[in-house]
Symmetry: C2
Subunit: 189 residues, 2 copies
């Protein structure tokens, strides 16, 4: 059990998602997750601070990727182009975990505590995106507006993506939502 478990994190995540779906998030304990994964509680805590963090473990990579997407955009990119670059970077991450995305989404939607956690993670993500935008010379207000627009579009597209009957790629759904926002705010009063 104390041995190096190369796939321990993945096994714990799969076990947690299965148990949260079957019994409910509140009713599931770390001991049950570890047991289902064939690992110890001690191993669980080597990978995750608590049972909630199993669901939000990817947030740091999402942030890194979206920031990297902004950093790597061509110098000529407009703010709108940078929002698109951030969303494309998010798409890469989401497609990697597509298999579990719907399950994770339904678990989070079932719990006010988890929804609050998601809000906090998203606010922190917007702060990181705004900072990456400012590093590209974009003014304070424009960077804040663009960062929140990126996370808003990301969230709305994510909700559609996990339930999309046609299983379209996230990138396509996000681009469509961003285009729709553009049309909405471009329309005359």
């Amino acid at each position: 059990m104390g041995r190096w478990q190369p796939d321990a994190r993945m096994r714990l995540q799969e076990a947690a998602l299965a148990l949260y779906s079957e019994r409910g998030y509140d009713e599931t304990t770390v001991a049950q997750i570890a047991e289902r994964a064939g690992l110890t509680k001690r191993t669980f805590f080597r990978y995750f601070a608590d049972k909630r963090e199993v669901l939000f473990w990817g947030a740091q990579f999402l942030e890194q990727r979206m920031v990297a997407g902004i950093d790597a955009a061509p110098a000529s990119a407009s703010v709108f182009g940078l929002i698109g670059a951030a969303l494309d970077a998010a798409a890469v991450q989401f497609e990697e975990v597509r298999e579990f995305a719907g399950q994770r989404y339904r678990i989070i939607s079932s719990s006010p505590e988890l929804q609050e956690r998601e809000l906090i993670k998203t606010a922190s993500l917007a702060t990181a995106i705004a900072s990456a935008m400012r590093k590209r010379g974009i003014g304070e207000t424009a960077a804040d507006l663009a960062a929140h627009t990126a996370t808003t579009v990301m969230h709305i597209a994510y909700t559609q993506w996990v339930e999309d009957a046609e299983q379209r790629p996230f990138e396509q759904i996000a681009r469509q939502a961003l285009g729709q926002l553009r049309e909405l705010v471009a329309a005359a009063e």
Copy 2:
């Protein structure tokens, strides 16, 4: 003490803001707030569920006003026009409490717990705005995009407004931020 206190709520709010600013939010107790206001703890709990709610008491009126602003907009209003109507309604509320807005803002900024509460209240506000938009026949995705755009612009404008050296009206700052967002997303990639 048990008498009807027509201005009790206002006195409790002023006392709470003063104490949160002087001693810090975490260090202030309900007993201290009541004492400063010349009232009892029992009176405090007649008006507020806890010391946190003193800071968020206006949220329900803000929501009612923004929803009413959308409901009252002319039938010809575009989605962009409805976002503007919601922001104008928010402006009415904010100007009424301008005197305390900066103090309240600094107290909330000083506490992660209060910032989280603000995020939750804002998410709930966006849900109400989206619902008001849908009642006007706007599609699901457009309503969600518009509602989150409204709360994003509101928050960014609020932050500028409480610290505005020229003390410009909220409405003017919000309209400017909304116009800036329009320019950002209208620009070509």
